[in-house]
């Protein structure tokens, strides 16, 4: 089931213009992502169903596995192997990121209170 707070958030999409603080944060996260991804590949994770990437729909690649769940964290700036969407979704993560022709809105919110490690702070 969904993990409760603190929650590790997915990464924001990389934009052409990025504030310095966010750039540092993004770079740190990217590094962690690469390390975690290598770890995940090395260790293997048979519990996680193999994604069915949609051919020709690749973008920046974000809809990967749940952050912190399997190590194959979604996010922009990935290696390109992470599918943009899933053709045959089975898990929650795949269902919410399934391929669709529905109208979609890309959001890149500024979250000033986000923790440096990308987690949401506890509620006051």
């Amino acid at each position: 089931m969904t993990t409760m707070n603190p929650v590790k958030t997915r990464k924001n999409k990389v934009r052409d213009v990025m504030p310095g603080r966010h750039l540092q944060l993004w770079a740190a996260r990217l590094g962690c992502t690469v390390l975690l991804s290598i770890g995940a590949v090395a260790c293997g994770d048979d519990d996680e169903p193999a994604p069915t990437p949609a051919a020709g729909k690749g973008g920046s690649g974000a809809a990967g596995a749940r952050a912190g769940a399997s190590g194959s964290q979604a996010g922009s700036g990935g290696s390109g192997e992470t599918p943009d969407c899933y053709e045959a979704p089975k898990t929650h993560l795949e269902l919410i990121n399934a391929c669709t022709d529905a109208e979609k809105v890309e959001v890149d919110p500024d979250l000033p209170l986000l923790e440096p490690n990308g987690e949401l702070p506890p509620l006051p």
Partner: protein, 401 residues
């Protein structure tokens, strides 16, 4: 007595008689044809009106829906504890009684018995466990019905199009201190009280418990609509509504697309901002939705003890009802923006919980598309004279099974 005095007296008498006639025109609830007493969430009032009108006019099995609207958690408690309806409820008039009445009009009111009346069917517009984690008392059963979406809404004048779960976490969990532009002033958050499904359903999705929400707590959905439409600062304003309520106010408000935790894009409840097909609720791209749950007393076999409650709940759930209704109950459910279980391809087991694939036993997705999608359905049509080449003929279309 002068002529002027006489005329004034006569006018006063006439007005007095007219006033007393209007008062006496309010019927006793018990005098209405086959009344059934319900306590429902205010997001379900469109269903009460639409289904209620068809039921009042039914030749097969007429009944009168008599209802009050309160919060889901309050409704659950009322039927669990036997708390009676004591205030004058609304009812749905028949076409013979009020030919001009429309489902967008206010429902008339009837006079409740002095001792009140028990709640025969209660409604929760979210998983009951989100209000009360205990099992239902003996002799009371929960029937899971069609699903409803919930939306974050902004005034027409706002240029915002989407909100992420993370943004909503900071907006409603931290208020002004959350520093989320443009929603950085909690005086412009129009939310609901903590017994309402709208708040609790969205709370579970953004992971901010209902008691911790910042903003102006309002009792009724129409107060949220009014707050947003009359806001002195539309760009900073945001509110929460049931999707059916939003659908009836699209000329004044915009629903925000929502991006769940771990989701790449934000989506509207419908496949586009302007459609009504609830496709993203049905397939899991839009996660803030909950089942409506219908609660009533049952016998030892789990069958409702009230014949009227049994008939009504069967229609809401899309199950076979006897006598066969002379209208299509599914149409009433679909028309008010609810998504019947038979049109869903995802499910969940708790409020805001993870989604999993779902295959209804008797799917109705083709019929739903036919009724609600701009492009109609791509499914093959069928009838007694024109059987399906494959699949099962249901509601005039060849469903997968």
């Amino acid at each position: 007595m002068t002529l002027r005095t006489w005329c004034a007296s006569a006018l006063a008498l006439a007005l007095s008689i007219g006033a007393s006639e209007r008062v006496s025109a309010q019927p006793k609830c018990s005098d209405l044809p086959d009344p059934i007493y319900l306590q429902v969430g205010d997001t379900q009032e469109p269903l009460m009106k639409t289904l209620g009108r068809a039921l009042r006019d039914s030749k097969a099995r007429a009944m009168t829906l008599v209802y009050i609207t309160t919060g889901s958690c309050t409704n659950i408690e009322a039927i669990y504890t036997g708390k009676k309806i004591t205030s004058n409820p609304k009812y749905v008039p028949s076409s013979a009684e009020d030919p001009g009445w429309k489902t967008t009009d206010a429902s008339p009111v009837c006079t409740i018995a002095s001792e009140g009346h028990e709640v025969e069917v209660a409604n929760s517009a979210l998983f009951v466990s989100a209000c009360n984690p205990d099992d239902a008392p003996a002799g009371i059963k929960l029937f899971q019905g069609p699903n409803q979406g919930y939306v974050f809404a902004v005034p027409e004048a706002s240029d915002q199009r989407a909100i992420t779960a993370e943004q909503a976490y900071f907006v409603f969990g931290f208020g002004s201190a959350g520093k989320i532009t443009p929603w950085d002033d909690e005086a412009f958050y129009f939310i609901r009280t903590t017994t309402k499904s709208t708040l609790l359903a969205l709370a579970a999705n953004i992971r901010v418990p209902g008691q911790k929400w910042k903003g102006m707590q309002l009792d009724m959905s129409n107060q949220v609509v009014s707050g947003l439409t009359s806001s002195s600062d539309p760009p900073k304003s945001i509110g929460i509504l049931g999707a059916e309520i939003y659908d009836r106010n699209r000329d004044k408000l915009n629903a925000l697309a929502y991006r769940a935790y771990d989701q790449k894009y934000a989506y509207f409840p419908d496949s586009t901002a302007t459609s009504f097909d609830k496709r993203n609720v049905r397939d899991g791209h839009y996660t803030p939705w909950s089942p409506t749950v219908w609660i009533t007393k049952v016998d030892g076999d789990g069958k409702p003890t009230s014949v009227l409650a049994d008939y009504l709940i069967r229609m809401i759930l899309g199950e076979e009802a006897t006598p066969k209704p002379d209208f299509e109950p599914l149409d009433s459910v679909i028309a008010v923006g609810l998504v019947p279980e038979c049109a869903m391809s995802v499910t969940r087991t708790q409020e805001g919980g993870d989604l999993s694939p779902y295959e209804p036993a008797e799917p109705c997705g083709c019929y739903y598309d036919h009724k609600n999608s701009e492009g109609g359905t791509k499914c093959e049509s069928c009838s007694d004279d024109k059987p399906c080449s494959k699949g099962t003929c249901r509601h005039g279309f060849c469903e997968a099974k």
